[in-house]
């Protein structure tokens, strides 16, 4: 199985089988997801001495997270799965974050930074939610036991979330270290292999991103290049080989 993680500022690619990881690569490309992801697929196949054509499923993190990164990852997963005629396994970034923190003994709450002062989170046994850190704190204050927050939303807003939760009479949640800040491709692959074994797959056409927020409905005129100031001397057309 090929695993593709590009829902945050990281890009991760892994090849995994029932026995575990065969090869993995993680990069922090800034926002250059589309420039980084495909060469990483080539590199991981090469490192595992496995041709891409032998892959039997594609697993992808569908978000929530960076819209651009999610689209690049889901489009690539669709391209590989469609072209090879293999199924797609989808996982949300919150599920991957929780999977990565499986060894944590506390109640794990994954929190993704959604920008504009909002976060997405999933309290155990509940649906994903999108809201302010105050909304998250209200959820946390109602939790039984001590919570550990993981994900980039926890790292960015940790102090505010802890203060708001305590102010509401809840126990102060712990904030994870940075290694649980981004959904890792190894955790994605592990979760994907389990889902594939359980038959929880979809196909390339149906795999969809999880944005959690309606589109910004702002019309924009198509960008165009700056005007040419000087087109330069005209070359001799007769010199062209046909």
């Amino acid at each position: 199985m090929l695993a593709i993680e590009s829902a945050t500022i990281e890009v991760g690619v892994a090849l995994a089988g029932p026995g575990g990881l065969l090869a993995a690569l993680v990069a922090r490309p800034g926002r250059r997801h589309v420039e980084t992801l495909h060469p990483a697929i080539v590199a991981v196949c090469s490192a595992a001495s496995t041709p891409l054509a032998s892959v039997g499923a594609v697993c992808v993190d569908v978000g929530p997270g960076l819209f651009t990164g999610i689209r690049v990852g889901v489009a690539a997963a669709k391209g590989v799965a469609f072209g090879l005629g293999v199924p797609v396994v989808t996982c949300t970034s919150l599920e991957v974050l929780a999977e990565a923190a499986q060894d944590v003994a506390l109640t794990v709450v994954p929190v993704v930074d959604m920008r504009r002062g909002e976060v997405a989170w999933a309290a155990p046994g509940r649906d994903m939610r999108l809201g302010s850190t105050a909304d998250l704190a209200a959820d946390l204050a109602g939790l039984e036991g001590e919570a550990m927050l993981v994900g980039d939303g926890a790292l960015r807003y940790g102090v505010a979330i802890v203060e708001a939760t305590v102010a509401l009479g809840g126990a102060a949640p712990r904030i994870s270290s940075e290694d649980l800040g981004a959904p890792g491709v190894a955790a994605l692959a592990r979760l994907g292999i389990r889902r594939l074994a359980a038959g929880a797959t979809t196909d390339a056409a149906r795999a969809e991103p999880c944005y959690l927020r309606p589109p910004d409905a702002r019309a924009n005129w198509v960008s165009r290049p700056a005007p040419v100031v000087d087109v330069g001397a005209r070359a001799d057309p007769t010199a062209v080989p046909w």
Binding site: F67, R71, F82, A217, S223
Partner: protein, 349 residues
């Protein structure tokens, strides 16, 4: 480069159309599928980038699957048994720019991944260069050099094509694109979206002489300007609130067409062109087509008007341009990204 038959699958997602096509040998269109999002953007009076990006993700697999099936191929790029064909699709091309970045990324990411899955070359194509090949697909015998007026919602260019991959930009808009002016005037006059067809429809019942409008930069070289014309429309209607909307639409359309036809003929004379052709969405405008033919015939200049389907964004033209690009430059790096502000590719001979 592209296998025995030179079969190229191309994907175009630069703006609000998700399109895919299979073209053989850069010339023969085996299939061309276009899924328009116009209904999604209509109520905003323009293309909403985030909505466009999301719609491309939803549409890409059905559109590519349909283009392959229509051409007689399965999703792995191999011919369907019933077709009796042998060669498989030999390359995947995609528009890399210019266009909306969030829209371009979907096509580029999908196309590169498909090329990897099929183990065939990926080739990135400049959208504007693609428009030049729309005419060549329909009229392969066109004598060169040919002057192409490329006018759309995002671009207004005059290009001379000397040969494959050998072009020069002769003139360009210094502000709004012609199609952008149509959209903005349509929005101001409350005519609907997209603006080109809406203005044309309204203009059909109007008198273009009834409203005096300027012809910007008419005598100033081959560059163009449409922003001031749009402002002139707004000012005239504000001062004359009783003016008939069809007259305003007709006068505006006539002013744009006057400028475009005048500049195109001037460009053709300047480079000694052996023909003129139109490209881009605005080239579907009936008045522009009519006036271009009249003007070219008056000068004895051959003129080619692509079908309306070839004027607007499609992937067949991207496949044709990709075929030429692959032959001249080889495949594009799998690490290529989108280039939302790509310029027209002017390459030396």
């Amino acid at each position: 480069m592209t296998g025995g038959d030179g079969l190229v699958l191309a994907i175009e997602t630069s703006c609000d159309e998700t399109a895919a096509a299979v073209v053989e040998g850069g010339r023969t269109i085996l299939s061309s599928v276009v899924s328009s999002q116009v209904g999604l953007h209509e109520r905003f009076g323009g293309v909403v980038p985030e909505i466009a990006g999301r719609a491309h993700v939803e549409q890409i697999v059905p559109v590519v699957g349909r283009a392959l099936a229509d051409a007689g191929f399965d999703p792995t790029g191999r011919p369907l048994p019933a077709t009796g064909r042998e060669g498989r699709v030999g390359a995947v091309a995609a528009t890399t720019g210019p266009g909306l970045v969030g829209a371009l990324l979907v096509g580029v990411s999908f196309a590169k991944a498909l090329a990897l899955a099929w183990d065939v070359p990926f080739v990135g194509v400049n959208h504007l260069e693609g428009h030049l090949y729309a005419s060549l697909l329909e009229e392969p015998g066109m004598a060169l050099p040919v002057v192409v007026l490329l006018v759309s919602g995002g671009h207004s260019l005059l290009v001379v094509m000397h040969g494959p991959r050998y072009y020069e930009v002769l003139g360009e808009t210094v502000d709004d694109a012609a199609g952008e002016a149509f959209d903005k005037v349509a929005r101001f006059l409350d005519l609907g979206y997209p603006g080109g067809p809406a203005v044309e429809h309204a203009a059909s019942g109007g008198d273009s002489q009834a409203v005096p409008l300027p012809r910007p930069m008419l005598a100033e070289g081959l560059d163009m300007s449409f922003s001031g014309l749009k402002t002139a429309v707004v000012q005239f209607v504000t001062r004359h609130p009783d003016v008939r909307t069809p007259d305003v639409a007709a006068a505006f359309q006539e002013a744009v067409v006057d400028v475009l036809v005048h500049k195109t003929l001037a460009a053709a004379r300047a480079v000694g062109a052996r023909g003129v052709c139109l490209a881009g969405g605005v080239a579907a405008n009936g008045r522009l087509r009519e006036r271009t033919v009249e003007a070219c015939e008056a000068e004895g200049l051959p003129v080619f008007l692509p079908s309306r389907a070839m004027c607007t964004d499609n992937a067949a033209m991207i496949a044709a341009a990709g075929h030429v690009r692959l032959a001249s430059d080889g495949s594009t790096s799998i690490g290529a990204g989108a280039e939302p502000s790509a310029r027209f590719p002017v390459s030396p001979p």
